[in-house]
């Protein structure tokens, strides 16, 4: 498949080694809202097993990019290759998405929400849901309806829902909004641990400092394009050099 604009420092091995296949490849992505170009010809490639933090001003196109990658929005032009597949549908069970909005049912309890969404992914046992809730610091026994949760709790449950099915690729849009600093740092640490297990994570956030300790790379977006990519020097295990793409 054609890759424009990026130089991988490690060679693309044959299909026998899935871990060298990029997690996401963007091919000339363009997205219009009327006459406003939210994404302007974005092409890039992202290696797996890393935690990417996407930052930029409002209107830079961060959330739009995430939605297009998640398959929620069709690009006006161009395409996305996700985990080697041409459509998101094919790999839906390996992708987790967390949006701006909570993506939860207010009238159900935390466990009920997770049980339902878990069911959509073919998960039927309660223990997975319990573990997910505990991982984000929520009590599985809580029978309170989500509508009565605090903002921070709702945010954490939304994260639990996104990672419930243990996806390889996680797309998280503003996971720390309305979360207190202490919990946010805990969540960031959790994400780092998840990345250490070999998952690929994309986080869009306005609170870059929170992620500095765990991020592999900061992706700076501006005016609908990826302005620059800033790999972070980290003491990690196993990952070879990240793609350097100054513009």
């Amino acid at each position: 498949m054609p890759q424009t604009g990026s130089t991988e420092t490690h060679p693309k091995a044959g299909a026998s080694q899935p871990s060298t296949q990029p997690a996401i490849v963007l091919h000339n992505l363009v997205k219009f809202f009327g006459r406003f170009a939210a994404l302007r010809d974005v092409s890039d490639s992202f290696a797996p097993g890393r935690l990417y933090v996407i930052v930029g001003d409002n209107g830079a196109g961060k959330s739009t990019l995430l939605r297009v990658v998640a398959g929620l929005m069709e690009p006006s032009q161009g395409s996305v290759t996700l985990l080697g597949a041409a459509t998101v549908r094919e790999v839906a069970h390996r992708v987790g998405y967390m949006g701006h909005a909570p993506l939860l049912y207010d009238e159900l309890s935390g466990m009920e929400n997770l049980r339902y969404f878990g069911g959509l992914y073919g998960l039927h046992d309660d223990s997975t849901c319990r573990n997910a809730m505990q991982m984000v610091g929520l009590d599985p026994e809580l029978s309170r309806r989500v509508g009565q949760y605090s903002q921070g709790m709702r945010q954490r449950l939304s994260l639990a829902r996104a990672v419930l099915h243990d996806p390889e690729l996680m797309l998280l849009d503003e996971p720390f909004s309305n979360v207190d600093v202490h919990s946010a740092r805990e969540m960031a640490a959790v994400l780092g641990r998840v990345r250490d297990h070999g998952k690929t994570i994309f986080v869009v956030t306005h609170q870059a400092p929170l992620m500095e300790a765990v991020a592999d790379e900061f992706v700076h977006m501006s005016a609908g394009q990826i302005a620059r990519r800033e790999p972070m020097a980290r003491i990690t295990s196993g990952s070879s050099g990240a793609a350097e793409n100054p513009r």
């Binding site: 219009f32 009327g34 006459r35 406003f36 170009a37 302007r40 069709e74 006006s76 005016a223």
Partner: protein, 229 residues
């Protein structure tokens, strides 16, 4: 205007003139209904053109859903609008015909009622096009067009059955039963002329839509390059 198109327009105007002459002067006066029956030469061809337009709309909508081509959508929009216009003509000429002949403006006869339902379906289509926002408009409109067109035979069958159960005077009924050959002659000329007029209108509207799409595309290109909003 391109010379071929201009030629076509001129020919159509000539055809229209000829067919009108046929309808108003050459064709004999009908025995029972008198001069007002001449509306038939406008009423039925209009219905035919409307049906043709809606069929084109259906095909264009399917093409859009399959290929996501803006041109297909433009054709769908154009044919729906022209179809509604001709449908309106049918609905107006029907009562004009019916009132002097049967003394009533509207009789819920099978053909007129079907036309009314068709008119409602495609007007709702046009309203949907107006009210949908952004790029979804085309997909939603194409989907509704398919629903509408699939409904057409069902509408016709159900109203026909309703009318056999509960009969009432038929407005266009007399025309099909044994038409005088000269009348048939005039009828076909009008059918041809109206179809040509329909084609011209649809193509004009289609070209207009394409131009609008082009303007949008060029604005988009600018936005893409310069980052200008």
């Amino acid at each position: 205007m391109k010379p071929l198109n201009l030629l076509f327009v001129v020919i159509t105007l000539g055809l229209l003139g000829f067919s009108t002459y046929q309808a108003l002067f050459v064709a004999p006066t009908e025995q029972t209904m008198g001069e007002v029956q001449r509306i038939f030469y406008y009423h039925v061809p209009s219905a035919w053109v409307a049906g043709l337009c809606f069929f084109v709309n259906f095909l264009a909508s399917v093409a859009y859903l399959v290929k996501r081509s803006s041109n297909a959508d433009a054709l769908a929009a154009a044919s729906a609008e022209v179809g509604v216009v001709f449908c309106t003509i049918v609905l107006i000429t029907g009562p004009i015909w019916g009132r002097p002949v049967w003394g009533i403006w509207w009789t819920w006869d099978a053909r007129l009622t079907t036309t009314l339902v068709l008119w409602l379906i495609y007007v709702s289509y046009l309203i949907l096009r107006r009210f949908a926002s952004g790029s979804q408009t085309q997909t939603l409109a194409a989907v509704l067009a398919i629903f509408g067109f699939v409904d057409v035979p069902i509408v016709y069958m159900s109203i026909r059955w309703f009318r056999t159960q509960h009969p009432s005077p038929v407005i266009a009924g007399g025309a099909n039963s044994g038409l005088d050959p000269i009348m048939l002659h005039a009828f076909f000329w009008n059918l041809l002329a109206f179809t040509c007029v329909g084609i011209i209108l649809v193509m004009a509207r289609y070209r207009l839509q394409k131009m609008e799409n082009q303007v949008e595309a060029e604005h988009a290109e600018l936005a893409l390059q310069g980052g200008v909003r």
